[in-house]
Symmetry: C2
Subunit: 465 residues, 2 copies
C-alpha cells in the first residue's frame, strides 16, 4: 500500500515502468498452476503487479479523462470490498440502497429537476444504452415484448463529436449503426441545432421514426458542450427524447462559475454523469438519471423475478431497486461518491471543478507564450488540445508535407515519454487534424503553483523530443 | 476493518442489524451538504454503514448464491482500488490486460476448448446479453449496421428455469420478450431436449428465425443442469448458437468429481461463468467465454474510436482489448480471481467446490432425519430447497388449506430471523410450489464439523418459528 498509494504519487518516481507485452509476460509469472504459491511469493507478485502498473495517481498521468485519487472515496471502496454487498434488495443492501437514493436525489437537484429517478451502473457507455432503451420503451412500450422486427426503422440523432458508445448502443440494442444520424458540429465541436432539425425532417420524410437525441455535455476529445437549450426546443417541437451524455461534463453542474456550460440540461429526459472522472470517485462511478418519476425506469427494465423480488416480504418492497437494472448483482458504486461528498461538501467538489478549469486556463496561456506549442482551439472546458512543433518544422510552410510530418510527432514523443516513464498524455488525430495531444489536469497532486505546473508539463514534453 | 472483516465473521455476532427503511434513514445522516464533515464524524458514518450493513461474510449468510470472503482476492481488490486502472488499452493497463488474458485462457482450458476468446464484464446478466448479441451478429452480421427493423423475427430458446436475465437481454437487444421461447423442463428443472426440438420446429414453421439457445448449468433456484450434450446435438442439427449460462454452475468444472454435471459444455459456442459466486472472487467477477478465436468478438463489438485505439502506437495494438467490450472504462475484475487461483492453485479451488457440495449433501441427510423439515427434491448441485413444517401443520392433510398455510411460513420465519439477526436465508415460491427456503453453503466460515453445521442451521430455523 505504501508503494501503490504513496510512492505512486511521488513526482520524482516514474508514472509507468514500460515493458512491451511479450517481455512483461516473461517478467510476470502469470501461469495458473495446480498447487498454490506461498505467501512470500504472493507478496512478490503483488509488488510486481504494482511496479509494472501505470500509476494513475501520479501527478504526470494525463492520459485519460480521470486521474488522481480521493482518499475518502478510497476508504469507502475498501469498506465495500470487505463487506462485499450486492445492491438489488433492501434486505441484502439496506444502507447502500438508501445511500444510492440520497446521491441520486442530490444529483437530480443539480440537474434542476424537481423529481426524478436513476440508477448507478457500470459506465457512461452503459448509461447511454440505458437511456436509449428507455426512450424506445417510452416511444413504443410494445417493443419490450414484441421486439423491433416489423417495426418502423428507429432513428437516433447525435452529433459527429459524440462518444463512440452511442454507436455501440445502437448496434447492441438492435437499432443498427446506420440508423444513427450524425449531426454536423461547428468548428468548436458543438452540435449545430439547425442541422439537427434538418436531419429530423429527413428521417421523417424517409418514413422512419426519429425518437432519441443524444446531446453531449463535454465531448471526449475537444470538451465541447452542445447547446442544450436550443436542442431541447427542437426535441419538444418534434416529440423526441432528449438524453444528455454528460459523462464528462456533468461535474461542471457543481460549479456556480461553470454550470452555465450545461444551460438547459433541466429540459433533458435523461442524463449520464460519471463522478469517477473529474470528481475522482474511482473507477467506476456512473449514474443514469431520469426525469420521469412515474416508474418508467422500472416498467421498462423489470422482469419480476420471483426468487429475488418477492412481493410478500415484511418490509416496503418499493425499496428493492434491483429490477430497474439490466444487471442482477450490482456494485455499491454510489457509496464512494457519497463519502467524498460528505467529506468535502458541495463546496469542496465545486473547488475541484474550478481548480481543473483554472489549471486548464493557465496551461492555455503558457502554451500560447511558448515557442513550439500550438493550441488547436480555445477550450470551453478542461480539454487542452495542442501540437508540439519540433524545431525542424517551425519554419516550414503549412502544406501537405508539414502536416504529414507533424502527424508523426505526437506518437514519437509519446513513445519516448512512456519509455522514460516521465509523463502520460493522450494523443489522437481528429476531424482531419493530424495527431495532437489532449491534456486534462484533474489530479490534486499536480502542484498548486501554476508556474511550476506549466513549466513541468512543457519542459517535460520538450525534453522528450 | 476490524469490524467489517473480523467481527463480521464471528458467529456469535449478528448477520444483520435489521432496521426498516424509514427508521434506518433517520438513524443515518444521509444528507449531502454544502460543507464537509470532520474526520471524527466521517469515521462515525463508516461505523454506522458497517453496523447496519448485512455481513455477507458471516457464517450464517445463506441468502444469495455467494457468501464468505477470500482474503487473497480481497488483497487484490485493495490493490486495484488504489491503482484505479481502467482496462481498455495496454498502455494504461499492461499488467491487468495480461492477467485477464491468462485467466481467460485457463477458464477456456477447463471448458475444454482448444482456443477461444472472452472478456470480463459486470455480471452474468450482462454476459448473457453479450452472448445473445454475438450470436445474432454471427447469424446475420448486417444487423450491426442495419438493425432489426425489416428483419425476420428472431427467436431465442431457453428453459423455463433459466435466469431472468435471458428475458431482460431479449428486451434490451430489441428482440422482444415474446420471442423468447421457454422450453419445458423436467421435474428436476432440466431442459427437455425433445421439447427444445419441437420449439425450434415451431419457430421455423412460423417463418421466424431461431438462432440462439441458452442452456443453463446450475439454475438459480433448483441448481439444475440442462443436458448439454443432447442440447448441443439439436443446436448442431439446426445450426443454432449454443450458449451456456454457467454463471452459477461453471465452477464445478474445476472439480474432477463434479465436472460431469457440465458434460458436453465443450460443444458450446459461448459460456457465462461467475467466479464471484462459489469461488468467492468478490462482487463482481464474471467472464463471457467464446469458442471462436477468429476475432468474432471484436468484429461484433468494435467501434474503432480513434482517440483510444490509435493504430499508430509503438506497441502491438492487438493487446488493446477495449474494443471487444460494450463498456469504455472497465474494471480489472480478473486480477482478484487470478490472485486467489495463484494462492490456492487449481486443487484449492477444487476443494472449495467439493466442500460446498459435500456440505449440501450433509444438509440434505440431516433434513431427511429431522422432524418438521421436508426436502423439495434431491439436489443435483449445492442448492438445497426445503420447507420447514411448523408443528401446527405436521398432522394436517396436504390439501389447499395446508399449502396456503405453509406458503406463509417461510416469510414469517424469514422476518423473525432477520429481526433477530440470527440467519439470512432466501425463500421463494416456484413452479406452483408454495414458499420454500433455498440454502447454499459456500462460506469457509461455516464450521467444518458437519454435525455442528446442520445442528446450527436447523436449530436456528426451529428456534425462530
Amino acid at each position: 500500500m505504501e508503494e501503490v498509494i504513496k510512492k505512486a504519487a511521488d513526482v520524482t518516481e516514474k508514472v509507468c515502468e514500460w515493458q512491451p507485452p511479450e517481455k512483461l509476460k516473461a517478467l510476470l509469472d502469470l501461469e495458473l498452476k495446480d498447487t498454490g504459491e506461498n505467501h512470500q511469493k504472493l507478496l512478490q507478485f503483488c509488488r510486481d503487479v504494482i511496479k509494472f502498473s501505470v500509476k494513475t495517481n501520479h501527478p504526470r498521468f494525463f492520459n485519460q479523462l480521470y486521474a488522481g485519487i480521493d482518499y475518502y472515496s478510497l476508504a469507502a471502496r475498501f469498506i465495500t470490498e470487505a463487506l462485499n454487498p450486492s445492491v438489488y434488495t433492501y434486505e441484502v443492501s439496506p444502507v447502500f440502497l438508501l445511500v444510492e437514493d440520497a446521491v441520486l436525489k442530490k444529483m437530480i437537484e443539480f440537474i434542476g429537476w424537481e423529481e426524478g429517478d436513476g440508477i448507478f451502473n457500470p459506465g457512461g457507455s452503459v448509461s447511454n444504452m440505458y437511456a436509449m432503451n428507455l426512450a424506445r420503451y417510452k416511444y413504443c412500450p410494445d417493443i419490450k415484448e414484441q421486439g423491433l422486427s416489423g417495426m418502423p426503422r428507429l432513428v437516433v440523432l447525435t452529433s459527429d463529436e459524440c462518444h463512440y458508445s452511442v454507436k455501440k448502443a445502437a448496434s447492441f440494442l438492435g437499432i443498427g449503426t446506420q440508423n444513427v444520424y450524425f449531426i454536423k458540429s461547428d468548428e468548436r465541436g458543438k452540435m449545430i441545432p439547425e442541422e439537427l432539425e434538418k436531419q429530423v425532417l429527413r428521417a421523417r420524410k424517409e418514413g422512419s421514426a426519429p425518437f432519441f437525441v443524444s446531446a453531449t455535455a463535454g465531448t471526449t476529445v475537444l470538451g465541447a458542450f452542445d447547446p442544450l437549450d436550443e436542442i431541447a426546443d427542437i426535441c419538444e417541437r418534434y416529440g423526441l427524447w432528449l438524453h444528455v451524455d454528460a459523462s464528462w461534463g456533468g461535474s461542471a453542474l457543481l460549479s456556480r462559475k461553470h454550470c452555465r456550460l450545461l444551460h438547459g440540461i433541466h429540459r433533458a429526459n435523461s442524463v449520464a454523469w460519471n463522478p469517477h472522472k473529474m470528481l475522482m470517485a474511482g473507477i467506476q462511478c456512473c449514474a443514469l438519471l431520469v426525469k420521469d418519476s412515474s416508474g418508467l425506469l422500472k416498467r421498462c427494465y423489470s422482469a419480476n423475478a420471483s426468487y429475488l423480488f418477492q412481493q410478500d416480504k415484511f418490509y416496503d418492497v418499493s425499496y428493492d431497486t434491483g429490477d430497474k437494472s439490466i444487471q442482477c448483482s450490482r456494485r455499491a458504486d454510489a457509496f464512494k461518491f457519497w463519502m467524498t461528498w460528505k467529506a468535502l461538501g458541495t463546496t469542496g467538489l465545486e473547488e475541484r471543478v474550478n481548480r481543473a478549469l483554472a489549471l486548464a486556463r493557465y496551461l492555455v496561456d503558457e502554451i500560447k507564450k511558448r515557442e513550439g506549442f500550438q493550441l488547436l482551439l480555445e477550450p470551453e472546458y478542461a480539454n487542452i488540445c495542442f501540437w508540439y512543433i519540433p524545431p525542424s518544422l517551425r519554419n516550414m510552410e503549412e502544406g501537405h508535407e508539414y502536416w504529414e510530418k507533424l502527424h508523426h510527432v505526437a506518437p514519437a514523443i509519446k513513445e519516448r515519454m512512456m519509455k522514460k516513464g516521465s509523463i502520460m498524455l493522450g494523443y489522437q488525430p481528429h476531424r482531419g487534424k493530424v495527431n495532437f495531444f489532449r491534456q486534462v489536469i484533474i489530479s490534486p497532486k499536480v502542484i498548486d503553483v501554476p508556474q511550476h505546473l506549466s513549466l513541468r508539463v512543457c519542459v517535460c514534453v520538450c525534453l522528450c523530443v
